[in-house]
Symmetry: C2
Subunit: 244 residues, 2 copies
DNA sequence: CGACGGTTTGACAATCATCAAATACAGTGG
DNA sequence: CCACTGTATTTGATGATTGTCAAACCGTCG
């Protein structure tokens, strides 16, 4: 990292850490990454980065802060489709004339920058990292569907926090089982398809039972191993689909 | 279409129609499409096409029949992540060593074939069609999240059927507002995050109120315009995200 | 006929939403 | 410093939506 970038070092670090983690073990010179990061742009919390249908001239790399993909219904109901964390990429789904497929709003103050050229296929490392990132993005959407479709409120919160923990670890933003989660209970509710009141009561239950704590923007998972065990309840694949 | 393909004409037609529709208005010679379709492979209902983690050597084009992306929980709960209809592509999300990100099972008898080479970027038409298909796939996942997160059982069914109607129209499989939906109420329940009992009762309500009918594998939407209006309730984008 | 998968019905319970208000807490300006 | 404002959290009372369990019904197929 040179001159201009140096002072931003702690800023770009999480994004760099995440992409490096995704590029491994093929390793790589993620050089283009460093060069492109000289000019981070700042976005204020609550700003809308993209509206559905907006063209996205180039993919964006989220350097710091949290954002969300949001959809609003005519009667005011709101659903957060997914959360965007430092190191996540925005708008890498399509190859040609990419377009925002959902609104994206800043949940906190943000730093973003154009994602270094992904079309430069010479950098295999970076290309693979983007590929994995795309893959993870879909994975998180699917996880969200299972949460909303089949988990209880209690399970939804536990499952989401476990996911956030793992995602933050990827970016080096969670080293212990205590980590920042700058979500209000309102936002949590809109993420999990619940009401803020019910989220509040369920959080109390989780706290009371010593599962996890969420307050003042910090989450603490009290028994991550047990939690992951209970929550990562994938069934072994079954050959007959309709079996019960 | 030549020789070998001709006898399969009605078979490949929907898939061809869909990809052509997606390629337009850039039009295109979708020539590689025709050539690759000579050897459709048949899959029996209930077979599992892919398990999570399976490598997908090449993208697959679904020619006829319905499939589903499924996830099962350890205690037997099941969530259908998304439905796959004729003309849909499987495994086009990743560029490098693609891997099945969810189990895929055949809901009906299927005909599939390898998707004609997408890396042949010379065929701009086909490449664009695949790109749009990818984009639509994500769109449907997001729609599913909103359904599960914020719609009532009544709305979920109406919304899903409207989506299916539009998707089938793309492939030329629905010309009127009456079209085939080979889903049992059990499968509908697992798609919509409900129980089969509740799906049954809600379907009765929808029928009673003249909104739609679903029986014997056929769906009928009684006032598609009004339905689309009620159900496509996107709110106008709002600049302040947290506004209420 | 009997078995099977799918649909339908009923009685009842649990989860979660709604509405309204109280409390806590940080920031702002006098 | 304190009252004032706005936002976030918490509590209570009540009701609607949806789930659970169990059984009956219905058509198809061997």
């Amino acid at each position: 990292m040179q001159a201009a970038a140096v002072q931003q070092c702690d800023l770009v670090d999480p994004a760099f850490a995440r992409l490096s983690a995704l590029a491994r073990p093929h390793d790589s010179r993620l050089s283009p990454l460093e060069s492109g990061l000289a000019r981070p742009q700042r976005i204020a919390a609550r700003a809308e980065l993209f509206s559905e249908g907006d063209p996205i001239p180039q993919p964006i790399l989220l350097l710091s802060g949290w954002a969300a993909r949001v959809r609003r219904l005519a009667d005011g109901r709101r659903q957060i489709l997914g959360l965007l964390l430092p190191g996540d990429l925005i708008g890498i789904a399509r190859r040609h004339d990419p377009v925002a497929i959902s609104n994206i709003v800043a949940l906190t103050d943000l730093a973003i920058c154009p994602a270094p050229c992904q079309d430069d296929l010479e950098d295999v490392g970076l290309s693979k990292a983007y590929d994995r990132s795309r893959s993870l993005e879909e994975h998180y959407l699917l996880a969200q569907i299972v949460r909303l479709g089949r988990l209880s409120a209690y399970e939804r919160i536990a499952d989401l926090l476990l996911e956030l923990w793992e995602r933050l670890k990827l970016a080096g933003l969670a080293t212990t089982s205590r980590f920042p989660v700058p979500l209000t209970q309102d936002l949590l509710a809109d993420t999990l398809g619940l009401t803020n009141v019910h989220v509040n009561r369920t959080l109390q239950a989780l706290r009371r039972e010593g599962v996890l704590t969420l307050e003042a923007g910090m989450a603490t998972l009290h028994d991550t191993a047990a939690l992951a065990d209970q929550v990562h309840h994938r069934a072994p694949p079954l050959k007959s689909a309709h079996a019960d």
